[in-house]
């Protein structure tokens, strides 16, 4: 169960639009992490991601009058921040290598705790998985990153990547095929 926040958020949006700086700061605080991580996924660089997130939220503040009340705020913010991130990535020129490390533990799945050996193997497998994701081409990496690593919804993924919501699913399945192939090469 996820406790809804729409009502409260819409109240903050309303206040922010009326010029309440504190309300806007509260909104930014609530979304800065997902915005920063999305930008990091795109730029592959923490400093650029921070810039992109900051610039994105400043622009979003200006654009608030155009935000349609009642719509979810997060995809709208992600669209703006991801755009900033893409601009930075383009101007950086070279392809930044995305560095991601697996956290020490898996997300809980409700299964029994693994043995130390199994945990070690699982750790290697996680590292291989992230390595393979990092070697994918950008489109594949981003759609997998948005859906699985950032756990964005299809709609949010579409917003972040600037693609139509209808294409997220098919793109994801093609990207997973290529990830499978990439992992297969690893095993050989």
């Amino acid at each position: 169960m996820v406790v809804g926040r729409p009502l409260e958020e819409s109240e903050l949006v309303e206040r922010a639009r009326a010029g309440d700086a504190g309300a806007y700061a509260a909104l930014v605080r609530g979304h800065e992490e997902i915005a920063f991580r999305t930008a990091y996924l795109i730029t592959g660089n923490a400093a650029d991601a921070e810039d992109a997130a900051q610039e994105g939220f400043v622009k979003a503040h200006r654009a608030l009058p155009r935000f349609r009340a009642g719509e979810p705020l997060r995809p709208w913010l992600l669209t703006i921040v991801a755009n900033e991130a893409r601009n930075r990535r383009r101007s950086a020129g070279r392809r930044a290598a995305l560095v991601l490390r697996a956290a020490g533990e898996e997300r809980p799945t409700g299964e029994a705790a693994p043995s130390p050996e199994a945990a070690l193997l699982a750790g290697e497998r996680r590292a291989a998985l992230l390595g393979a994701i990092a070697r994918l081409r950008e489109d594949d990496r981003l759609v997998i990153g948005c859906r699985y690593l950032l756990e964005l919804s299809e709609a949010e993924t579409a917003a972040a990547l600037g693609i139509r919501p209808g294409t997220v699913k098919s793109r994801l399945s093609r990207s997973l095929e290529r990830l499978r192939a990439e992992l297969g090469d690893d095993d050989a």
Binding site: V3, R5, E8, E32, Q54, F57, A103
Partner: protein, 252 residues
């Protein structure tokens, strides 16, 4: 081999630490833009708080109705940004019992609380002593400790440590949904799964000029322990992880 989808779903990434974007944005907006000044309100600040991010995502699994779940969240202070207006004026050193005004329930003695909730066990951590106030809520018990050597009081609540005990579980998906601006660390207290939450939970209040937001925390750090006996222990205060763990462990 596990299905790739399942593996990816279970994969958890160490992201770089999230910088203080909100602070930087607020500073830029304040410097660069004349923000329309909101009209003054007739009534004065009222304390209100936001356990914003934190709250958004807590999932409690109980063999209970959605209403009961929602009540649990409320009692735990885990509701989403909640703006609570209180009547008038004046900075709030609260009159009356320590912890009054935190919405913890009805004041009670330890014995009364135990009659209502026989699971109640008092922590025996060094220097903690007896609780200064006990509250009985609909679903569990809250123990409030004032300032004492080694335990600093919170400027916002006046309390140093708050221990809550209730029969509940925190869903494993806590980590998926915990949301922005706070950090979640998974650990074990003895064999029981536990979560330590730090970072800006956020603190919003209705001030003269509208909603304000500060990084100051109402809750301080929070430790949640899901005990095998079915109790959910919540320890909150300006505590290090080790300190919070010591308190939770000292509950027999």
């Amino acid at each position: 081999m596990r299905d790739l989808h399942d593996e990816l779903t279970a994969l958890s990434v160490e992201w770089p630490a999230t910088p203080d974007v909100a602070g930087a944005v607020a500073a830029r907006l304040a410097a660069g833009e004349a923000v329309a000044r909101p009209r003054r309100r007739a009534w004065r600040p009222a304390l209100a708080y936001a356990l914003a991010a934190l709250a958004a995502g807590f999932a409690l699994v109980m063999a209970a109705s959605p209403d009961a779940r929602s009540a649990v969240l409320e009692w735990l202070g885990l509701k989403s940004v909640k703006i609570e207006r209180r009547e008038p004026t004046a900075p709030p050193p609260r009159p009356g019992k320590l912890g009054a005004g935190l919405g913890l329930g009805t004041p009670a003695t330890v014995d009364e609380a135990r009659r209502r909730f026989p699971f109640l066990r008092l922590p025996a951590a060094d220097g903690l002593g007896r609780p200064d106030a006990v509250y009985v809520g609909r679903l569990g018990v809250a123990l409030v400790y004032g300032e004492r050597p080694g335990y600093a009081r919170s400027a916002t609540t006046g309390a140093a440590v708050l221990v809550q005990e209730l029969p509940a579980r925190v869903d494993p998906f806590i980590q998926k949904t915990i949301g922005a601006a706070s950090r979640l660390e998974r650990l074990r207290v003895d064999a029981d799964p536990a979560f330590f939450i730090t970072g800006a939970h956020g603190f919003a209040y209705e001030g003269e000029g509208g909603v304000r937001f500060e990084d100051q925390r109402l809750a301080g750090n929070t430790l949640l322990v899901e005990r095998a006996d079915g109790l959910l222990i919540r320890v909150e205060g300006d505590l290090t992880r080790d300190r919070a763990v010591a308190i939770a462990r000292s509950i027999p």
